[in-house]
């Protein structure tokens, strides 16, 4: 893996995740035909697939995943435990849902859960985005 990254060869994990992101983008776009808001996560998933494939914009790629995860997590917690928030509950949940969709939606959340650990310094995806630091 290390050698492949140094040699500029695209690692298998990158290919696999990029394909998953691309397929997810296509799936979301199909949903978007029925409910147009799903075009937004479709576009985000496509962007992430391109960024990952090309190994560019590590910061943007990572922060999209982080925001997606945080928004999804807060959304779940607020809906589950947020009755004490009163009317604010649904406002917070609404903002978090929009943020989550803006950052790729539920499928991004699933793949992000697997990709984020690999984006830590020294890990496979980190090295792919940052070959000079590998």
């Amino acid at each position: 893996m290390r050698d492949a990254v140094i040699a500029g060869v695209r690692p298998a994990a990158v290919k696999a995740y990029a394909v998953l992101l691309l397929l997810s983008a296509v799936f979301m776009a199909l949903l978007g035909w029925s409910a147009s808001a799903y075009y937004v996560p479709a576009a985000c998933l496509l962007l992430q697939a391109l960024l990952l494939w090309s190994g560019r914009a590590y910061g943007l790629f990572k922060w999209i995943l982080v925001v997606n995860q945080v928004a999804g997590l807060v959304l779940i917690l607020v809906l589950w435990l947020g009755d004490g928030l009163g009317s604010l509950k649904l406002d917070i949940a609404g903002v978090m849902l929009l943020l989550n969709l803006l950052c790729g939606g539920p499928l991004m959340a699933i793949w992000g859960g697997a990709m984020l650990p690999a984006l830590r310094r020294g890990k496979r995806l980190f090295r792919w985005f940052n070959p000079q630091l590998a």
């Binding site: 949903l31 029925s34 409910a35 808001a37 809906l79 406002d91 609404g94 849902l97």
Partner: protein, 607 residues
């Protein structure tokens, strides 16, 4: 020669006028004949009051005879109506306490268009060409939800694009179809409603029992009123919830006096918590959306406010309202009933919950019902959030851009809809319209047990006095019977008025002294009466075209009443909603009264 005589001569019949007892106004009797002179069986003879905002109707017997005693006098329209024939209409001058013989003759239609225009919606929507077999059921569920499709307002020919636009507007009112279904529906509607006359022969199945009945109607509200439910209260008055205008319409049938009470204002915008949806301008002017009613023993009437998610009480003695917020994410409190301990129970459809309120302690409990599957669980979790997001952009129906029903269909929601109390054990039972389940709640432990229904679309059920649960299957045009003791279902298909036509039974109620089930039949302008003893339906044709009834309620003297609730009201014949009551024996009483008046009539003839 007075106008009465002229009108009768024009019909080729004889008419007489005489004074009778001062308790009555205009009384009419006579026969109705078909164009060929044979007696018309089951024809409706309606007498309109001079102001044309009330009418009373009786049905002819097998020999074509009828008699009707009305409280009206002055210039009165008298109309004979029978399916497959053109109305016979005369205007007569009726003095107070008059008795008139008035024979009426029905006519054939001048052309095929006239015959088609007189048919109920059921004939027109029966010709819609469905490409997929399952589309019709979804169409029934989602497009016949609040109104008929196929009446004169809704069957106007439109292009595919205009139908798509209309369907999109309906989705803004929460018609929950997928985009693909919407496109297919637009194709079917464009092809089916092409403006050409439809041929059908309708049979409402007249019976001797029908000729015993009498129908009373009082127009109430205006062309934009959306009087969802009507309830007969202990004071004998009729209370109706105007969901669009945040009003309570009260009719005293003894005096015909009408009062309207405005619900107290809420802090919410127009449309309440549903302000983000595309609610009809002019019809939805309020924010509470009063929907259903039930009365506690202290006389207070409890109202579910669907749009503001509140429970409200109205005290008929003091005319005061009190508002109680339903806590949490509750969306669309729907049908309300009161149990034997005066606890108020209500369904909350859009968030899949049941509310329980104790008026004595003012304690409100909201319990979540089983989600019945992953996608319904997603709906339960996210639907209130999506509506909140929609409310940030009023009237844009943004929900449609987010909700998974747009690709999975209406079944992503459970929709606990009707509710009732089992008189045998006090348990609370509900029907889930979209999840096709009924459920029992133990009133003490709140433990829930659910049963799948054999037919889809269980809507507003009721118990009979023996604890049998009667359930209308809206989507499949049937009546279901469920015995909680054996957990067994039986079902009966509602007969259509012509081959190939379907029925949409929205709600029912059981007249407990006889055990008979009265049920709405909103596609064919009739009311159904089911006898559990003979397992047969009887039809009562409605005197008003575009009859779309909701909850049924009974008066102490055995009349069954409801509200004309088609949305919009201006599509109803006469363009105004009404309260309607059927007195199963009212026609028979009128016949007896008319027979008693015959000596006077005879004397008048001899003079």
């Amino acid at each position: 020669m007075n106008r009465n005589s002229l009108a009768c001569l024009a019909l080729g019949t004889g008419c007489l006028l005489s004074l009778l007892s001062p308790a009555r106004a205009a009384t009419f009797g006579g026969t109705v004949t078909l164009p060929d002179g044979r007696p018309a069986f089951g024809a409706m003879v309606s007498v309109f009051n001079a102001a044309k905002n009330q009418k009373q109707t009786v049905y002819t017997a097998a020999d074509g005879s009828y008699a009707i005693v009305t409280p009206y006098y002055g210039s009165l329209d008298v109309r004979a109506r029978l399916a497959n024939f053109e109305d016979g209409l005369v205007t007569v001058e009726a003095a107070q306490d008059s008795v008139s013989r008035l024979d009426l003759q029905l006519k054939g239609f001048a052309d095929a268009q006239g015959a088609s225009d007189a048919l109920s919606a059921s004939a027109h929507n029966a010709v819609l060409p469905w490409k997929r077999a399952d589309d019709r059921q979804v169409f029934v569920s989602q497009c016949n939800y609040c109104h008929q499709v196929g009446n004169s307002t809704t069957r106007a020919p439109r292009s595919h694009e205009l139908w798509l636009s209309t369907i999109n507007k309906m989705e803004g009112y929460l018609s929950m179809i997928t985009r693909a279904q919407g496109i297919r529906f637009a194709s079917a509607l464009e092809k089916g409603f092409d403006g050409k006359p439809v041929k059908a022969t309708h049979d409402y199945g007249p019976t001797a029992e029908l000729a015993r009945a009498k129908v009373e109607e009082w127009q109430i509200g205006d062309a934009f009123s959306f009087i969802h439910d009507m309830d007969v209260a202990e004071d004998g008055k009729f209370y109706g919830t105007d969901e669009g205008h945040d009003k309570l319409w009260v009719l005293d049938p003894a005096t015909d006096a009408i009062e309207a009470f405005d619900l107290p204002k809420s802090d919410l915008p127009r449309g309440g918590l549903f302000s983000g949806m595309h609610l009809a301008i002019g019809i939805f002017t309020g924010s509470h959306g009063p929907h259903s009613m039930a009365q506690t023993k202290d006389g207070r009437i409890w109202i579910t406010n669907a749009l503001s998610s509140t429970l409200m009480s109205f005290d008929p003695a003091t005319k005061r309202f009190e508002t109680y917020a339903v806590p949490g994410d509750a969306l669309y409190p729907h049908t309300v009933r009161v149990d034997g301990n005066d606890i108020v129970w209500f369904t909350i459809v859009a968030s899949n919950q049941i509310g329980r309120f104790d008026p004595k302690t003012k304690q409100m409990t909201v319990m979540r019902l089983p989600s019945n599957g992953f996608f319904r669980w997603i709906s339960d979790m996210l639907f209130p959030t999506l509506l909140r997001i929609s409310s940030w952009f009023p009237d844009k129906a943004l929900l449609l851009d987010f909700s998974h029903h747009r690709f999975l269909g209406y079944t992503v929601l459970a929709f606990p809809y009707g509710i009732d109390v089992n008189p045998k054990d006090g348990s609370i039972w509900y029907a889930k319209l979209y999840a096709n389940r009924i459920g029992r709640i133990d009133p003490q432990t709140l433990q829930v047990t659910e049963y799948e229904t054999p037919l889809s679309g269980p809507r507003r059920p009721r118990f009979d006095k023996d604890g049998i649960f009667w359930i209308p299957a809206f989507d499949e045009g049937a009546l279901m019977r469920f015995d909680p003791a054996t957990a067994k279902f039986e079902s009966w298909k509602v007969p259509g008025v012509a081959p190939g036509e379907y029925e949409t039974p929205y709600a029912l109620n059981v007249y407990r002294p006889t055990g008979e089930v009265w049920m709405a039949a909103n596609n064919s302008d009739r009311i159904l009466r089911f006898s559990p003893a003979t397992k047969t339906f009887r039809s009562y044709p409605s005197p008003t075209r575009v009859t779309f009834l909701r909850d049924f309620s009974f008066t102490k003297d055995g009349r069954v009443c409801s509200s004309q609730s088609n949305l919009p009201a201006y599509a109803i014949e006469g363009a105004v909603p009404s309260y309607i009551c059927i007195d199963p024996a009212g026609g028979e009483r009128d016949r007896a009264a008319f027979a008693g008046a015959r000596p006077a009539l005879g004397q008048s003839t001899q003079q």
